[in-house]
């Protein structure tokens, strides 16, 4: 194993500390936490789809704390307007001019809670900002802070009062994950804590201390992008994509944006695994999270991930 240990580089072991810290708050979800870190390193946005009360918000809060990022949370409701999110210009009487009042989107980590409860108009305002890294209001373009990372949560689309995101907007999220129920042991600890702790999980998450700063995060992101990829693995990625495009049982094939996402997520995973080169395992690990929400817009998360797994079993790792 080639451990990345140059002076200018940030010690990758920090990532393990982040994982451990978050795990203290969100119990029994190490694998998912690792995926979130991976998404962050690949400079992508994250969509968490799950039932209410599974710890989506807790996860986002914990991450904001350990990464030392400015953090805002917006609860999306059906009457939320784009201005509520982006900000408005207000007339200042003393100066006799309009001054721009920044909305909650001007932050480094935005938790967009229950994104599919709001109207498509507001959804698209957020998704545009995600893609462009900037907001245009009153004819003026205002850049968003660096880094800008969105964790959106949504309820399964079958729930009432939801506006499902269209395929084109789902595509903007690098990964979509499902937290799922905790296992029995984790559940027991959660129940035991109820009696002992004075405050809830949210408070626990707020108490976490920052492990890395913004510069370190940006260096890590750079290091992830520098992971080397052999031709054999590019071939593998292309085989996976063309299988998804040629197979009639798959709703829609993976787009070029999807294949870029797959590769950058896999590189980030390789970095987490302390390597500066990519292995096929990296691609396979991130594949369902990166691909499942892109191949078909309908159906349950489980079914879509099953399709993604099916693609993996059908495409040979080494040659066609």
């Amino acid at each position: 194993m080639n451990i990345v240990e140059r002076e200018t580089r940030v010690n990758v072991n920090l990532l393990e500390q982040i994982e451990a810290s978050v795990s203290e708050v969100l119990l029994g979800k190490q694998a998912k936490i690792k995926l979130v870190i991976c998404c962050l390193l690949a400079r992508g946005h994250l969509l968490i789809e799950d039932l209410p009360g599974m710890g989506k918000t807790t996860l986002a809060q914990a991450f904001a704390e350990v990464l030392g990022l400015a953090y805002n949370r917006v609860q999306f409701t059906s009457d939320l307007l784009p201005a509520d999110l982006l900000g408005v210009s207000i007339f200042n009487r003393q100066e006799s001019s309009f001054s721009f009042q920044q909305g909650p989107i001007f932050t480094q980590l935005l938790l967009a809670d229950e994104i599919n409860r709001t109207t498509p108009k507001t959804q698209s305002a957020l998704l545009e900002a995600m893609e462009e890294q900037q907001v245009s209001i009153d004819g003026k373009t205002r850049p968003l802070p660096e880094p800008f990372f969105v964790i959106a949560t949504q309820n399964p689309s079958s729930h009432s009062g939801t506006y499902p995101l269209p395929e084109s907007q789902l595509d903007r999220f690098l990964m979509r994950i499902e937290l799922g129920y905790p296992n029995a042991a984790a559940e027991r600890i959660i129940l035991q804590r109820l009696g002992t702790a004075t405050k809830g999980h949210r408070a626990r998450a707020n108490k976490l201390s920052a492990i890395i700063n913004v510069e370190q995060l940006e260096t890590l992101q750079y290091q992830a992008s520098q992971v080397s990829v052999s031709d054999a693995l590019l071939d593998y990625v292309q085989r996976l994509i063309s299988y998804s495009r040629d197979n009639e049982s798959i709703g829609c094939g993976i787009s070029p944006r999807g294949s870029l996402a797959l590769l950058s997520a896999a590189k980030a995973w390789a970095l987490i695994e302390h390597r500066d080169y990519l292995l096929p395992e990296d691609i396979q690990q991130v594949f369902p999270a990166v691909i499942a929400h892109r191949i078909s817009a309908t159906g349950a998360v489980k079914a879509q991930e099953a399709v993604a797994d099916h693609i993996l079993t059908q495409v040979d790792v080494i040659y066609s």
């Binding site: 054999a232 049982s249 990519l278 993996l312 079993t313 059908q314 040979d316 790792v317 080494i318």
Partner: protein, 666 residues
């Protein structure tokens, strides 16, 4: 996969192919069947889901009712029509539950079977071409199942591409089909299905009444085709294709008298001897006669045949034991100058001079006068010839003759008629004068094909003439029609129709155009060659052809020929595919992976597609502990070669290759 989900137009291809397969069978099947099939297809197209979900009992009911309907309307279900009808019915009912890919493939293959069924009923070049076309459409439908409907091409491009692909596949199959046709043993029919005997009776009948041949004149369908194999050939005006002789006359109709015995052995031997001599004209030819539904065969006089299927009568006419239900091919040698002057027996004399008790008194009196005044038969013939040349005219619309004394009316009053009138009245006149006479029927003349390969005789050339008895020459042919209207003989009926001013018939007008006629003749020529060489390809012809092709008929020569053709077809494909896979395997590391997989397969260890090398080899190490060390080192080295781009050097590749080679059971 559900068919209903398919976005491409395979439904239309399948529908089109099935329709093409079924439409030619229209005439053979009950009329309601085709609308029934179309209705089911349209229903299926409009409600794709609804119909497939029908209950078992409803389906059973539909099947029972339609099979019963079919058996009632065909009559017997155990006939060829019945079986084909069942097949068509089954294919259309299958549409109801067409749901999966498998059903669709089944439909395509059923369609192929149905389109081949057409050849059971019709076997011209045209129907063969048509069958090929419908097979092409059906195979295109088959291809639709396997192409990606979401590719970037437009519908039109995709359509052209798939038709092109199917055409290429057909062309690849063609040499194999041809060679198998040539060398496969021609086994006769192993099984037969009774065909509802519906061959219409056409052509010349064994009786002759006024008007009969006048009707035939309007019919330009093919009667027979003749190929001469001898260099000697009679001129077209001398070609009298004699069918049979009619001896019994009841005042209106001449009839054939069934003969008690065939030609005597003595005469037969005499005839056979004629073929051995070298001098004198001998015509050898092959006749391909269309199905007539009657047993009569036609030939130039005097015919000599060796075919055991053919019976020769005492009047030298040829016939078969059974009626011609399909095209029949036979070879004849004719000796034009053969004379049989065996004196007529008493019974025969009576037969050939027999007349009804009363009628046509004027003719009878005239005949008696002629006999007394002129005496010899030849004189009477000469006199009649002269008479006919003056005052008589040939027409196809002679008008009605008196019903009581038609011959009197014709000879002394109207003097207008066609071959039948002339033949009938001449024979009557000769008999009244005491000369034995009879009527011969058959065809006269013919048209040479454009390349002069064969002679085409149509029903329009049906003809009747007279034969009279002469003590020296035996039976002598005399054609009064040729005397009255020589142009009828020299130019043929179709042109005569125009001369006659009766060309209202548009078909006849078209025949006037030489290019139409030319084209018609060429088309007929193609059909003739098809019948002769493809449909008539029997074991004898096969033996001759293969011998000519290969020098001798040996099993090894035939085997070699088949292998050669197969090789020629397959070689380009093999080269193409090997090139394709060759480009894939240029990477030496990938080659190593292939080698490793093969080696591991020998050790009963198979890599799953999604299994990476390290995972696979560590699984293998658990199952084969003795190899664990070697496997781990190979895994590490090979993964490094594959995924760590800077490290692939030829030395390392060689090391890994050697390590893979060393893997063995211990």
């Amino acid at each position: 996969m559900l068919i209903a989900r398919q976005k491409n137009n395979q439904w239309y291809w399948l529908g089109g192919g099935l329709a093409m397969a079924i439409i030619p069978l229209w005439a053979e099947l009950p009329g309601w069947l085709l609308p029934f099939v179309i209705a089911i297809y349209l229903w299926r197209l409009i409600y794709p889901q609804h119909l497939a979900r029908q209950g078992k009992w409803i389906k059973l009911l539909v099947v029972t009712v339609s099979v019963m309907l079919l058996s009632v309307s065909i009559g017997s279900i155990f006939s060829l029509q019945g079986f084909v009808g069942l097949l068509v019915l089954a294919s259309s009912l299958k549409l109801i539950e067409l749901e999966t890919r498998r059903d669709y493939l089944l439909m395509v293959f059923l369609g192929c079977l149905i389109s081949a069924c057409q050849l059971l009923f019709y076997n011209s070049v045209l129907s063969f071409g048509y069958t090929l076309c419908s097979l092409l459409i059906l195979h295109t439908a088959l291809l639709q199942m396997f192409i990606n409907s979401e590719s970037a091409q437009s519908v039109k491009q995709r359509l052209l591409a798939s038709i092109l692909k199917v055409t290429i596949i057909f062309l690849q199959a063609l040499p194999i089909a041809i060679i198998l046709f040539i060398v496969m043993p021609r086994i006769g029919s192993i099984w037969t299905v009774p065909i509802n005997s519906n061959v219409a009776k056409t052509g010349v009948t064994d009786s002759l009444t006024a008007g009969d041949i006048g009707q035939l004149n309007q019919d330009f369908s093919v009667a027979m085709r003749i190929t001469f194999s001898s260099s000697a050939q009679p001129s077209v005006s001398q070609m009298y294709w004699r069918g049979m002789s009619l001896a019994a006359f009841d005042g209106k109709t001449w009839r054939r008298v069934p003969e008690a015995a065939p030609l005597s052995d003595k005469l037969r031997n005499k005839l056979q001897k004629v073929t051995e001599r070298t001098a004198g004209p001998l015509y050898r030819y092959q006749i391909m006669q269309e199905a007539t539904g009657r047993p009569w065969l036609y030939s130039l006089s005097t015919p000599i045949v060796r075919n055991r299927e053919i019976v020769q009568g005492q009047d030298y006419s040829l016939s078969r034991h059974s009626p011609l239900q399909r095209r029949f091919q036979y070879e004849v040698t004719s000796a034009a100058d053969f004379i049989d002057n065996t004196p007529l027996g008493h019974e025969q004399y009576l037969r050939y001079t027999q007349l009804p008790g009363a009628g046509n008194p004027q003719t009878r009196a005239f005949a008696q006068q002629l006999k007394q005044r002129l005496g010899s038969t030849q004189n009477i013939i000469d006199f009649l010839t002269e008479q006919y040349q003056h005052g008589f005219s040939y027409t196809l619309s002679p008008g009605k003759l008196s019903t009581e004394n038609p011959i009197d009316d014709f000879l002394f009053n109207t003097k207008r008629g066609y071959c039948e009138h002339f033949a009938s009245s001449s024979a009557f006149l000769l008999r009244a004068a005491g000369v034995p006479a009879r009527i011969a029927t058959g065809y006269q003349g013919g048209q040479w094909s454009t390349d002069h390969q064969y002679l085409l005789v149509t029903q329009a050339q049906a003809h009747a003439w007279v034969e009279f008895w002469d003590e020296q020459s035996g039976w002598v042919r005399w054609d009064p029609t040729a005397v009255v209207a020589p142009e009828r003989i020299s130019r043929g009926t179709s042109e005569f129709l125009l001369l006659d001013g009766r060309a209202q018939d548009i078909a006849a007008l078209f025949r006037k155009n030489s290019w139409v006629r030319n084209w018609q003749l060429q088309w007929d020529g193609l059909n003739y060659q098809w019948h002769r060489w493809v449909l008539g390809y029997n074991s004898q012809l096969q033996f001759q052809f293969v011998k000519k092709l290969l020098g001798a008929v040996d099993s090894w020569r035939i085997g070699l020929l088949i292998l050669l053709v197969l090789g020629l077809v397959i070689a380009p494909l093999m080269i193409k595919s090997s090139r394709k896979s060759g480009t894939r395997q240029t990477d030496p590391v990938i080659k190593l992976c292939h080698k490793l997989d093969k080696k591991m397969a020998k050790l009963q260890l198979h890599r799953e597609p999604q299994e990476t090398l390290s995972r696979f080899l560590s699984r293998a190490a658990i199952e084969q502990p003795s190899l664990a060390v070697a496997l781990r080192s190979i895994a590490a080295d090979l993964e490094k070669l594959l995924y760590y781009p800077t490290s692939s050097s030829s030395a390392e590749i060689a090391t890994v290759a050697a390590n893979i080679k060393k893997l063995k059971y211990r």
